[in-house]
Amino acid sequence: MPTSKSHTDKKNIPCGQNRLVLGNVGVINPESIDEYIAAKGYDALKKALSAMKPAQVIAEVKTSELRGRGGAGFPTAIKWAGAANEKSDVKYVICNADEGEPGTFKDRAIMEGDPHKLIEGMALAGYATGASKGYIYVRGEYTLSIARLAKAAADARAKGFLGENIQGSGFNFDLEVLRGAGAYICGEESALIESIEGKRGEPRLKPPYPVQKGLWQKPTVVNNVETLANIPAIVLNGGEWYRAIGVEGSRGTKVFCLMGDLNWKGVVEIPFGAPLSKIIKEMGGGVKKDRKLKGVILGGVSGSLLTARELDTPVDFKSLALIESGPGSGAIIALDETRSIVDVVDNIAHFFMHESCGRCTPCRAGNEQIVHLIGKIRKGDGSHADLKKLEELGWNMYQTSFCPLGQTAPNILLQSLKKYRGEWEACLAGKKEKCACCAC
């Protein structure tokens, strides 16, 4: 195994990965459909259209035990079967590429580096569920992703991988690339659907779920970029092959985004099940300046906050759930010993105050009060009562927010109040001299 000093290859990419999704990224020219085809591209689509029934495609995905890579980890096959079983003249496949979770840029790597893989995955999803129209809703700032996807879609159409009667199979599927307008909430699937419909991006009441009544009230599958990018390999190599990778309950690989105080930052792909400490050491090259690690934000700012002692937990859905965590978006943000937890939480609170859609009271007003209270504490005017209020607000947001944005917004705040209580208390009024960690 490479050491932390020379853990990367000649291209400065960490060694020891299993790049199923990122296999072509940095290898082929993403603007060349021929290079994609040469790398077995669209073979899975051809195979499905010529030799598989839609139900068989879903069956392979079911065997693979693939779970959604957007954060929630919902079994993909169940979602697809739900849409496939709905009776409707029109169905849709939407790719959620509104990658807005801070510290997360894995979907961007896929879209910029291998756009055809996503398009092939979408066509397969359309075939499996009976949808003939797809939308890729891309984060507005991702101009290169949008340009490459648009070119890839045009090239795929020209080569007969999109459009009418694909590869002579009688199956029709086409897609449009749409550009988001900068709202974090539009990464929530029902808000994303509202946005596509031209409405204000706000979550819908569920049920009905999108697979029942989604875009324009029609059955709609909404999948993350990485989820869809896993599909061609599963169809080509079979669900059993995929299931052999990873660990129980978390099959296959996961693309992680390494961020923060690490020697190497970027996107890596490894099978589920490796402990975070190993990922940080072997992929991230260890902590910058040989400092101690204080903690890790896993899964983005709506994810969880893990202490250095918790980092031996294997990164898979089951193991992480035991410590109220999860892989989430795949963001790994390392915080070294010099970072103030109060400052980090303050930064996150401002983010949520800005990004709450404003629809429900607990999230809209709760995030605002959290920012206010943290500001008070950072000024040295806080009290234990304020810490209790923060806990109550966080509890209330989790319990009563309308959608996952508000329910998860206080995650890191609440965990920091438990795990880094000392740092908060050091900031309280009358304890100013003891607090050397933050701006207070």
Binding site: G358, P362, Q369
Partner: protein, 605 residues
Amino acid sequence: MFHVKINNKSHEVPKGTTILHACKHAGIKIPTLCYLEGVHAEGSCGVCVVEVKGSRTLQRSCITAVTEGMEIQTNTEAVRKARKINTELLLANHPTDCLVCDKNEYCTLRQLSSDLGIKNVSFEHTHAERAAKDETSPSLVRDPEKCILCRRCIAVCAEKQSVSAIGMTGRGAASAVSTFGDMGLGNAECANCGQCILVCPTGALMEKSEIDGVWKAINDPKKTVVVQTAPAVRVAIGEDFGLEPGTAWTGKMVASLRRLGFDKIFDTDFTADLTIMEEGTELITRLKTGGTLPMITSCSPGWIKFAEHFFPGVLAHLSTCKSPQQMFGAVAKTYYAEKLGIDPRDMVVVSIMPCVAKKFEARRPEMNGAFHYWQKKMGLKDSESFQDVDFVLSTREAAKMIKEAGLDFPALPDEEFDQPLGMSTGAAVIFGATGGVMEAALRTAYEVVTGKALASLDFKAVRGMEGIKTAEVDLAGTKLKVAVAHTLSNARKLLEEIRDGKSPYHFIEVMTCEGGCIGGGGQPFTTNLETRKKRASAIYKEDAGLPLRKSHDNPVVQTLYKEFLEKPLGEKSHHLLHTHYTKRGVHPGDVAHEKKEHKAHAHTH
């Protein structure tokens, strides 16, 4: 039926029921704030939460459907705590000037805080600046500071009225209810219906009050202050004094207004009868001469502004008749002022209306027929113009004045309107309910056209709360097809038919508000579907008990034509009782486009 457990007791509830309704059925009241039956169920406030066994988080009872075997807890520590926190979060940035707030005893937020036992607000005020009031509209005032973002107003504007003059702007902590481009209600496609006022749980939306101006006029010895009362006011005003709906409080209303100091207590019902004479004649003329059909009633000013914004191409279908309010102002300041021998400028006409759109209507620049009547006679300059109606009070404002004057409304004796402009028939009273104008018009049109007396005066097909009602009436061999719509979303359907050339009707009645004027935006805050129905029944009871029930039988209306107007649609009527409309459009470009079209059209002539 589903079997559920609520607070450990078993209940059977119908499938598809929400937890809120299931609990209500079981006799358990769950506090709500943003939820409003029949108007809004989006779960934005987070107050009505309950515990559901097996659910990860608390559930909103207003939007969560019960499932078989569901176990619900409505009174746990977590439930009480969450309800309090969410309410306190709203109170943190809500003004606490309840004692001087217009909404005061009708404020849902105030009631909720009391019900939840909130003794102090544990969160601090976080909004740096006080948001400015929107006072651009002559009808409504919006105070964003009091807005708790429940969105009931947006729902009623979009769904009941299909107007969407207001919507959400900004996001997160900066979320606000506003108009397009934050230009204010007065510069938006707002119909001024005021349904948003009725559904607002706080004092964020209110009518623009004209009480001060009315007191000032009453106190001015030089002024003759005459008041007119719309048909729907008498069946609603008592509710502001705690009386049960379902009665017409006409006599007490008249007595209270007399004690406020108005010089003459007159009735808009008088000009409702006059409207029927003009509008009925207009309809018969259009039918006979191949005029634009269907003809649509023009009494409801919210509807007029709606048509001007959204259907500028079909304005020729609108009756040219002014509304009864405006006919009253024009008649009072001409015929009646002449009778009294007073300078019309010394007469102040005050309206008491179930409506806030009437405030806008009274201020329309073209609503100065009396001024034009007097201009030459008195040698007045254009700059000396005066409006036919000076002040418009909502039913609520009138009740406030009565309270302010210390009158014990329920204990007042029944008194009669003054004459002559207080004379009316049952046909005028029913103007207050949806279908009433149609029924009144049919009573007169039938007898005028056929020359025969009606066997039964009750046209029941056009009564009731159905959104669009239709009927066919045989007028001496001519099948007259009529339709009645209330709420603007229903009106829109009939208008689209006309726009697309598919309307089968000859005559259409449109009322802006649900139930007609009895459910108007100026009515007491007790307005809901149930009170609307009760007010309507009171109106029809009043009509049934009157000796005169046909507008053309109104003796004062007959005298008015004899002494002054000469005949329906005559020269004087044309100037005083009829009006024209403005093509407004919805987007700034629409109006310019319409104007250009109009110009080009004029040029070719």
